[in-house]
């Protein structure tokens, strides 16, 4: 158990790195996607819808292969496995998070929008000063659950050779043939790494429901 853990620990940094970097990409790209999808004009809405649907309709592992073997293996562009995993998972989760953002934006009462119009705030200012601060808090609990999903999907990066927990477990198993032990520890490691996110989700949920009850 001790030796398994110390070998798999070599992959923990990579797993956490991929998860956090991809989540950052997703959190940044997801918001504009959500805002575009709420636009009044279909020419603005349509591209955002297509991007989100296509990103989600293809399995993550196919995206990683496309990005690593096809886009990232040309003379002009050489991506590392880490970069390819971050780009691929980041884009996929941007699509997922855009749905969470959209739900958050929808949760802001219509009266708030009407108030910004009554005050003649430009649309950008209305978003930045009134709508987003209210929407983003609502989004925290679903964001945390998506972060856990992303943590688990990061295991797929091992298939293109990123040296994460799963990769280390496969390597170790090829040496010691103890798949039973190695993958049990690997699974438990992922579950343990997900706990902080679950705590965040729960905490935010509690604050939110208290606020709703208090209001």
């Amino acid at each position: 158990m001790g030796t398994i853990l110390s070998t798999l620990a070599d992959g923990v940094a990579q797993t956490i790195g991929i998860t956090l970097a991809a989540f950052a990409v997703a959190a940044v790209l997801g918001l504009p996607l959500a805002v575009l999808r709420r636009s009044g004009h279909w020419l603005v809405r349509l591209p955002a819808v297509v991007v989100v649907e296509v990103l989600r309709a293809v399995p993550p592992i196919v995206w990683l292969f496309l990005i690593y073997f096809s886009l990232g293996s040309t003379d002009n562009l050489q991506l590392t496995t880490f970069q390819a995993a971050v780009i691929g998972l980041g884009l996929i989760y941007a699509a997922h998070l855009s749905e969470a953002y959209r739900a958050g934006l929808d949760a802001v009462p219509a009266g708030q929008w009407e108030a910004t119009r009554a005050l003649a705030l430009p649309r950008t200012q209305a978003y930045v000063r009134v709508i987003l601060p209210q929407a983003l808090i609502v989004v925290i609990p679903p964001m945390a659950t998506f972060a856990i999903a992303l943590l688990k999907d990061s295991a797929i990066a091992s298939v293109i050779g990123a040296t994460d927990i799963t990769f280390q477990a496969v390597q170790l198993t090829q040496q010691d043939l103890n798949g039973l032990g190695n993958f049990t520890v690997a699974g438990l490691l992922y579950i343990a790494l997900g706990i902080p996110f679950a705590v965040v989700a729960r905490g935010a949920d509690r604050v939110l429901s208290r606020r709703l009850v208090g209001a």
């Binding site: 296509v54 592992i61 688990k152 798949g179 039973l180 190695n182 699974g187 679950a198 989700a201």
Partner: protein, 237 residues
């Protein structure tokens, strides 16, 4: 033009791969759905000794990456003299993951039935089995169908993980074509298109049938939720 010609060459092989993908999806569902329902019933049982093992299994199935579960079955179980083909290993691993996820969906459906219905069953003197069969499940199934279909689409995509244990499914075919021709772009794009075509038409069909829902792949509650909710299993008084 040349890409289209290439695609024409790949297509028969890909369709064979698609058959394996669909068979894997079907077998995983056939094993996973009944097990998921059983786990859900166990999770809502009154007795602790029934409830806790079920909750533990579901948390493991939802908490560990499906790929790790797959490797566990493929590399680990042979140590216990349980050796199967890679297809069977993939079906077992994905079936278990299916059971864990759908258990949570079924449980949510069961819990959505108003307590009054269960009280009414007790007042009428129905047995526990009758209560489930005649009152609870028929209502729960209806609530549960849209998220279940969402999960099926996820599972269909998830079968691509079986590539990692070299099941000859769609992605494996694409990859082996690529390693022969070195045309990674055209081979993988075609694979992506085949996956997307089926996923998107399933989503579209579902939206047509249940317009109220934003029926899509993410309609399934994102995993991990269960971790925060295990303590909330409640019971009718």
């Amino acid at each position: 033009m040349s890409t289209l010609n290439e695609w024409q060459d790949y297509l028969p092989d890909y369709l064979d791969g698609l058959k394996v993908t669909l068979r894997l999806t079907g077998v995983s569902l056939a094993g996973g759905l009944p097990l998921g329902l059983l786990l859900a019933l166990a999770m809502t049982a009154r007795r602790r000794t029934v409830r806790w093992p079920a909750i533990l299994l579901v948390e493991i199935g939802r908490g560990a990456p499906a790929l790790v579960v797959l490797y566990f079955v493929y590399y680990g179980l042979p140590q216990l003299d349980l050796t199967w083909s890679s297809f069977v290993c993939a079906a077992i691993a994905l079936g278990f993951t299916t059971a864990a996820y759908t258990a949570d969906i079924f449980r949510a459906g069961i819990n959505s039935i108003p307590v009054g219905h269960r009280e009414a069953c007790q007042a009428l003197g129905l047995s526990h089995g009758q209560e489930l069969r005649l009152v609870v499940l028929p209502q729960a199934i209806r609530v549960v169908i849209p998220p279940l279909i969402g999960f099926c689409i996820l599972l269909y995509q998830g079968t691509s993980l079986a590539f990692a244990v070299s099941v000859p499914e769609l992605l494996s075919r694409a990859y082996s074509q690529a390693s022969i021709t070195y045309q990674f772009t055209s081979t993988l794009v075609l694979a992506g298109l085949v996956y997307a075509a089926i996923s998107l038409s399933a989503v579209a069909l579902m939206r047509a049938r249940w317009p109220g829902r934003t029926a899509s792949v993410t309609d399934v509650e994102p995993p991990g939720e269960g971790l925060a909710r295990t303590t909330e299993v409640t019971h009718a008084p």
